[in-house]
Amino acid sequence: MPTDLLLALSGLVAGAFGALLGLGGGVLIVPILTLAFGFPLTTAIGTSLICVIATSTGAAAINVQAGRADVRLGITLGAGTAVGALTGGVIAGFLPERVLAGLFAALLVYTAFTMARGLRGRRGSAAADAAIDPTAPDGPSAPAYRLRRLPLAIGGAFGGGNLSGLLGVGGGIVTVPIIHLLMGAPMRVAVTTSNFMIGFTAAAGSYAYLFRGDVDVRVAAPVVLGVAVGGVMGAGLSARLRTSWLVVLFVIVILYVASQMALRAIDGP
């Protein structure tokens, strides 16, 4: 099968999984491009950041129109994530690939742990499902909320942006807990607002990679197109599929990928 087709299929799978599980897709795209296709980690990260922008802008258009995302909060925290992402993108250019691989392995283990814990919390709680479903309808019963600890949250958003620029992920794994746990916004608002913010974050992070020459457009194009199509497919499927078993599968896959990334960190590329 030609490499172009395989790249597009990889993007499609990452986009569909991302939409089904509420991820930007970066945690899948970076390992696929690095471990399966053998691209340098910086190429994979730069390509992933572009894909993350595409998934963010596509989903945010729907969430903002429906009033599910807190636009004001997203823009305010965007100041922190943008600076953090640029810093991360610049730092990544100076770090050895083995260090980046080690950091990515740690991120994958943390992501798997967070998803597994969320799965346990979800069992027997339909309300929790509705609370994290970004496609759930709004209504007069939607909870009002008062945000707190804004300066601390902007500092935390800087950390999320840094992670995004450094490792090519959306950074939602940091920004969602900041908005939900630290600031006190409902989970659904946290997820949709984080998704809206990810566009700013990934754009800021991607410039360092694009202008340094880390992105190969013949690699990025099929992956971005695949992610765009996969995202639409995943969003359509999410209403009909039970995602619990997908999360279990994802956690297993992600732990395997983490072990491969850890090996790459130890043995070198």
Binding site: D4, T43, I50, I53, A54, T57, G58, A60, A61, I62, V64, Q65, G67, V71, R72, I75, T76, G78, A79, A82, V83, A85, L86, G89, V90, G199, F200, A202, A203, A204, S206, Y207, A208, L210, F211, R212, G213, D214, V215, D216, V217, R218, V219, A220, A221, P222, V224, L225, A228
Partner: protein, 117 residues
């Protein structure tokens, strides 16, 4: 009522910018990629964006699409700033402008730090 209408216009404008921006830039990537496939041969490999755009051809069209995609969030901030100004929300207008300037500053920093060809 006016407040509700204003909020709807703000979110509607942002959503339209996101939708149109995404579709337009993805279309650019698709056209450039289609031309590259028809043309055959290997791609130019990883190149700094300025060099890629200067080289022209299908790779430059893909490059314009990818770079355009990164400008969609900046356009969103512009639309949001206009919306906040119309609603008299000066604090949010300032924050939107600051974030847009920060994003443009990251772009300039990346260009300045880019290796010279």
């Amino acid at each position: 009522m006016n407040e509700e209408r204003g909020a709807g216009m703000l979110s509607g404008g942002i959503a339209r910018t996101l939708r149109i921006g995404t579709i337009a830039t993805i279309a650019f990537v698709a056209v450039g990629y289609g031309l590259a496939l028809v043309g055959g041969g290997p791609g130019p490999g990883p190149l700094p964006m300025l060099e890629l755009l200067g080289g022209g051809g299908s790779a430059a069209i893909i490059g314009i699409g990818l770079l355009g995609l990164t400008f969609v969030p900046i356009a969103v901030l512009g639309v949001a700033a206009i919306g906040f100004r119309m609603r008299g929300e000066h604090r949010m207008l300032t924050i939107s402008a600051v974030v847009a300037i920060l994003l443009l500053a990251t772009l300039v920093t990346a260009v300045v730090l880019a290796p010279s060809s």
